[in-house]
Symmetry: C2
């Protein structure tokens, strides 16, 4: 059984909180689910909260970078929240391209950032 990560819809935004270390299958399933949900709901913003994640491996980092770029292609702006030091280090050291991604301290501030960016 593949664990799946619930994706919540709040107004025009999708919220995802990743609270446990992902295995590769779950990460890929999440990527697919998120893009499908953006398509279904027409959401134009996504907050991905990593507060509870203290370390990620290179595969997960790549999937995360990919899903952000894919979401953007589909017209949804992504805000990452709660990035812990080790996660930041992994992302940068692996050269994951996140230059255009907003970040925020927590889910609440992430939502605020997104709504401001989207001009609401």
């Amino acid at each position: 059984m593949i664990a799946r990560i619930p994706i919540l819809k709040l107004r025009n935004c999708l919220l995802v909180s990743i609270q446990w270390e992902l295995d590769d299958q779950t990460a890929l399933q999440f990527q697919e689910d998120l893009l499908q949900k953006i398509y279904e709901t027409g959401a134009n913003g996504v907050v991905i909260d990593l507060t509870s994640i203290d370390v990620i491996d290179s595969f997960i980092a790549k999937v995360l970078g990919d899903v952000i770029n894919m979401s953007r292609l589909m017209g949804a702006k992504v805000v990452l929240t709660g990035i812990q030091p080790a996660v930041a280090i992994t992302l940068i050291e692996l050269g994951i391209q996140l230059e255009d991604v907003q970040t925020a301290l927590d889910l609440e501030k992430g939502l605020e950032t997104l709504q401001r960016e989207l001009g609401e």
Copy 2:
């Protein structure tokens, strides 16, 4: 491996979206996680969204009823959202006590209901 349901914190509320049928272990783990999170965060509201659940069995219905009463004991008001017909039937037929629980159409309206109830 027990799948766990992420619990999101937004302001003083916790948000939970149950998007796949729960097995018994996951339901009990959720009960424990939610109560722990209420304790840790001091949240005074919880929205449990069942939009994607079209049927529940008697065990899950009982756990749901229990977790609502337990949350209330801990000082958190619960709003259930997105209850589908078959779920409503199961809850009532099993005599799950939900008289004091607010419901709403979706996550967004659930949050609004909760903030109004909490006088914010």
